[in-house]
């Protein structure tokens, strides 16, 4: 057997974009592939759960797990891989913060099932079939994973050694992560493998930002002629760059779109959305309540705007469950 470090990739509740990021390593991928031995990668190669179970504990040097935890099966795999791996990396926004799937925390299992298996206009389900965790026919039993009320981050179910932010993480970030983690002096455990400053730091438009920035109205990208080169916030666009960790190279801004916060907060911030909200509202140019409310009304969906990627990782984690 080779003594190349054993690396695993696994996905839970995710869109596959993070897998794309791996593939996007392109020729770099070949070097990586050469440098490491990939022992698990369901997207690309066929592995079964028992293959993993067969591995001795701690035999995987490095596991990149992307996607959030939403089913029992995903939680079991997370636990299993944790046991098998020396280092477990939460890879991408979903694993780190809950990601887009995390917005499901605005509902609960029942309402989601109602929507999917009954209410959705596209649903044809005369028998009103619902997913069941156990299904027996002719004495044979099939088990399906259980479905949680909550979407959780990886760190909410197992200990995580490192986190790589991004939706998806940039190939560059992945490459540097692999390199950083496999060399002799890895960064302190628990660190997020990206700069610990806000995106404004790297923003190509920062010079255009006015000395004191005040906003009298928030505008939505698809309804706005967005000026190139000009600070997006100063154009009234809800850009979360000032509250969001740098490391993406300001990709969205270069694409003339405001930052929506997929890299999550800096290490000092407990709740990305709350801080973003606090900062954004500080820019409102009014002292009178009606005026303030008028301006705030131009932010259509606070939760969706400030917690787009991080609801499960936020202090409240979800919408209140009816008790």
């Amino acid at each position: 057997m080779s003594n190349r470090p054993k690396v695993a990739f696994y996905w839970c509740a995710s869109c596959g974009g993070c897998e794309e990021a791996v593939v996007d390593l392109a020729e770099v991928l070949l070097d990586v592939a050469a440098a490491v031995e990939i022992v698990l990668w369901p997207v690309a190669l066929d592995f079964k759960r028992h293959d993993v179970e067969a591995m001795p504990d701690g035999s995987i040097d490095l596991t990149f797990l992307n996607g959030a935890i939403r089913t029992t099966e995903q939680e079991e795999m997370a636990v299993l891989l944790r046991r098998k791996s020396k280092l477990l990396v939460a890879f991408g926004a979903c694993a780190q913060l809950g990601g887009i799937p995390g917005l499901a925390n605005l509902w609960d299992r029942r309402s989601i099932f109602d929507a999917v298996y009954a209410d959705a206009p596209s649903t044809v389900n005369p028998e009103g079939v619902r997913p069941e965790t156990e299904f027996r026919e002719k004495g044979r039993a099939v088990e399906l994973p259980g479905f949680y009320d909550d979407v959780k981050t990886l760190a909410q179910v197992v200990d995580v050694d490192y986190l790589v932010p991004g939706c998806p993480p940039t190939p560059a970030l992945l490459a540097s992560a692999v390199e950083a983690l496999l060399n002799d002096h890895p960064p302190p455990r628990g660190s997020v493998l990206a700069p610990d400053r806000a995106l404004c730091e790297d923003c190509p438009r920062r010079e255009s930002k006015p000395e004191t920035l005040l906003v009298a109205e928030f505008r939505r990208p698809h309804l706005t002629m967005i000026e190139e080169e000009k600070c997006l916030l100063s154009q009234g666009l809800l850009c979360l760059g000032m509250a969001t960790r740098a490391g993406c190279g300001a990709a969205c801004i270069r694409g003339n779109m405001p930052c929506s916060g997929c890299f999550g907060p800096t290490s000092r911030v407990k709740d990305h959305g709350a801080k973003a909200l606090s900062a954004v509202t500080s820019l409102i140019d009014s002292g009178n309540q009606e005026e303030i409310d008028r301006i705030l009304a131009t932010i259509p969906d606070p939760v969706g705007s400030f917690y787009r990627y991080g609801l499960p990782a936020s202090l409240l984690r979800r919408k209140r469950l009816e008790t």
Binding site: D196, R197, A198, L199, C200, E201, R206, E207, K209, E211, T212, L213, L214, G241, M242, A243, A246, P265, T266, S267, R268, V269, K270, K275, A276, S278, A279, S282, L283
Partner: protein, 664 residues
């Protein structure tokens, strides 16, 4: 960064405050609970922690048990935080490793359920213990104190404060809204209880102000802007034009004599219209400065532009009269400010049932002060509007005081000045004088004796609040008189008493613009609208804004002795700061952790003191430690958690939240 958990050695001290706390909160249990908390080395309860032995106890524990954190559960930090910080410092512990929590004002005094109050105390202690672990050693910032002092208001309070400071060799700027200093006291004839002549004791002080090399006197002026902070205030004073140039005027008053108005026609403000003045005038003979002014409503020159300007001619080549004079803005830097803006008297027309404004012979006490005044409108002759001498006078106390429908408070001076007026009126007219009082309040040196004197002068004292004053006559004896209907509560009988003259002893109330003035100086008002002192007993002339002090009746109704005493105290406070040369500021400023800042600038717009500067090049913000007043608004706003605040670090507050919410 706070030390590693294991190095935290906290001492918790629970105060009984006699029975103030102990009678409601189970202090023993609280201390026992504290002992069980992580990092707590020792916890004690003690009768009076603020007492010397109490502090000694803490100092001793620090030294002997190597405590490095102190939690004191007692009264409001506004009261004793300083005490315990000093105690800690005396034992070589950084004073800011002390956290105080309030289980008296916020707990034992406001809760009745002892069990729950005790549990609440434990929660608060838990919170403080967790918090204090994250405290860091801090240094106080020293702010230099500009030795110049601004005194606002030229009544007896302002005059005395100004002179005291000036005599200590410090520069004073004295600003008075009216054309002359002197305030209400200048209107009085005599002062109680000694009956010495007000003018004789006030006038010398007024001229002293004018003459004093260290006092810059600006009358007919308003403070229109105040910027800065303790030790370094920048003040704008607007000097309204009096149309007579102060620096050129010799005070000869030829202009007044020469005015084309041969006899005075304009109601005289200083005498409440009891006499008339000319359009160019000085408010009263002893006015300081002795400089006339022109009132533009009535001056022909200003109304028609066609006056032969006799005044200007009379002034001759001094050319003091200047019809073009405009307002003038003075800007001065001072270190401390004494607010002595005084109060006004209650508007008697609000008490319609006493007929002031309806019946000509109903007067306010201030009008009577002028009538009995030797240099008043009648040269001291007390006469009714029709020129006759009153044979009977009624003095009604508590008009606009102790009344839910107008002002609820006791104005403190009315009883005594009513006695004084009773004496003077009797002396001047020999009239039969009735005093109508609810309670006779004579708490002061020589006051009760004065009351005795009046009793023996045969003045009537009827205990009862007059219900109404009317001209309604039941029979001949009442025809043409003002008739009072009142219950003599001591006789338990209702009486009708006809008199020639009624005097309303009006109370004191805040100036109409008190709330604007308060905002100007960033100080607080009590619910009545008087300015609020920092502490009613321990800091009676301080405000919640450092370097701004209160004197006189702007802080509450006061007589002359108390006013002067308070003015002296305010001056002393100002001089104390100046003497020290600097003031130590609470080290609660916000600061930017450079490496964490991305220069997003979210903070810049927030700072009311423009203490935040964004270095665009370096892409970092920074905060000026002295300009920052420590409100923490920018801290709450900083989206990347790069701004922190001493004494109110995020961790510290999160720990408090956890503390008050964890069960047990």
């Amino acid at each position: 960064m706070s030390e590693h958990k294991s190095d935290i050695r906290t001492g918790v001290y629970v105060c009984h405050c006699g029975t103030n706390i102990a009678s409601v909160v189970d202090v023993r249990e609280a201390a026992r609970h504290a002992a069980s908390l992580p990092g707590v080395e020792i916890s004690r309860e003690y009768k009076y922690l603020c007492s010397e032995p109490g502090q000694a106890l803490i100092r001793q524990d620090i030294l002997e048990r190597g405590l490095n954190r102190i939690v004191v559960a007692a009264c409001s930090p506004h009261l004793h935080e300083e005490t315990f910080r000093t105690a800690a410092a005396a034992a070589q512990l950084n004073p800011f490793h002390v956290q105080m929590i309030n289980i008296r004002e916020h707990n034992s005094w406001v809760h009745e359920d002892k069990a729950r109050a005790s549990r609440k105390a434990e929660k608060l202690i838990r919170a403080a213990v967790r918090r204090v672990a994250h405290h860091k050693p801090l240094e106080r910032v020293r702010v230099p104190i500009n030795p110049a002092v601004l005194v606002v208001g030229g009544g007896i309070a302002g005059i005395h404060a100004a002179l005291t400071v000036a005599n200590a060799g410090r520069q004073v700027y004295l600003v008075e809204r009216e054309p002359s200093i002197g305030g209400h006291m200048a209107m009085f004839d005599k002062t109680f209880p000694t009956l010495d002549c007000a003018a004789c004791i006030l006038t010398p002080k007024m001229s002293a102000v004018k003459a004093h090399p260290n006092i810059k006197l600006w009358t007919h002026s308003d403070v229109t802007d105040v910027q800065g902070y303790v030790g370094n205030y920048r003040v704008k004073v607007t000097r309204w034009p009096r149309m007579v140039r102060e620096e050129l005027c010799s005070g000869c008053l030829e202009c007044v004599a020469a005015c084309v108005f041969k006899e005075a026609k304009v109601p005289d403000e200083f005498n409440f219209g009891l006499s008339k003045r000319k359009p160019i005038y000085i408010p009263f003979p002893q006015a300081v400065p002795q400089v006339p002014l022109i009132d533009m409503e009535n001056c022909i020159q200003f109304r028609t532009g066609k006056c032969k300007k006799a005044c200007a001619q009379a002034c001759g080549d001094r050319k003091a009269i200047d019809f073009q004079q405009g307002e003038e803005i003075k800007e001065v830097d001072v270190g401390t400010i004494i607010v002595a803006t005084g109060s006004k008297t209650f508007d008697a027309e609000r008490a319609a049932y006493y007929g002031y404004g309806t019946y000509p012979n109903v007067y306010t006490s201030l009008e009577i002060e002028r009538l009995v005044n030797a240099c008043g409108p009648t040269a001291g002759r007390v006469v009714l509007r029709n020129g006759e001498t009153p044979k009977s006078v009624a003095i009604i106390h508590c008009v606009g005081s102790r009344d839910e429908n107008t002002n609820r408070w006791c104005s403190r001076v009315c009883c005594m000045y009513s006695l004084k007026l009773a004496h003077l009126l009797k002396e001047h007219t020999g009239a039969e004088v009735f005093n109508f009082y609810i309670d006779m309040r004579t708490p002061g040196k020589g006051f009760e004796e004065f009351y005795q004197k009046l009793l023996n002068e045969g003045v009537h004292f009827v205990r009862g609040r007059v219900a109404e004053v009317t001209e309604w006559a039941l029979d001949q004896s009442e025809e043409g008189k003002l008739v009072l209907r009142v219950e003599d509560t001591l006789l338990g009988l209702v009486r009708r008493i006809p008199v020639d003259m009624v005097v309303l002893s009006v109370g004191m109330e805040p100036h109409a613009d008190a709330s604007e003035v308060r905002r100007l100086f960033n100080i607080t008002c009590s619910s009545e609208g008087f300015f609020l002192e920092r502490h009613p007993k321990l800091a009676p002339v301080n405000t919640f804004t450092d370097g701004i002090f209160l004197a006189g009746s702007c802080q509450g109704p006061k007589d002359i002795p108390d006013t002067v005493a308070q003015a002296g105290a305010a001056a002393a406070e100002a001089l104390a700061l100046i003497g020290a040369g600097y003031m130590e500021q609470e080290p609660n400023a916000a600061y930017v952790v450079e490496d964490h800042c991305s220069g997003c600038g979210a903070c810049s717009a927030l700072c009311p003191y423009s203490a935040i500067t964004l270095d665009a090049g370096a892409r970092r913000s920074s905060i000026h430690p002295v300009l920052c007043k420590g409100c923490g608004t920018c801290v709450a706003a900083c989206p990347s958690g790069a701004i922190r605040q001493n004494l109110f670090e995020d961790e510290q507050i999160f720990e408090e939240i956890t503390g008050v919410l964890t069960h047990g």
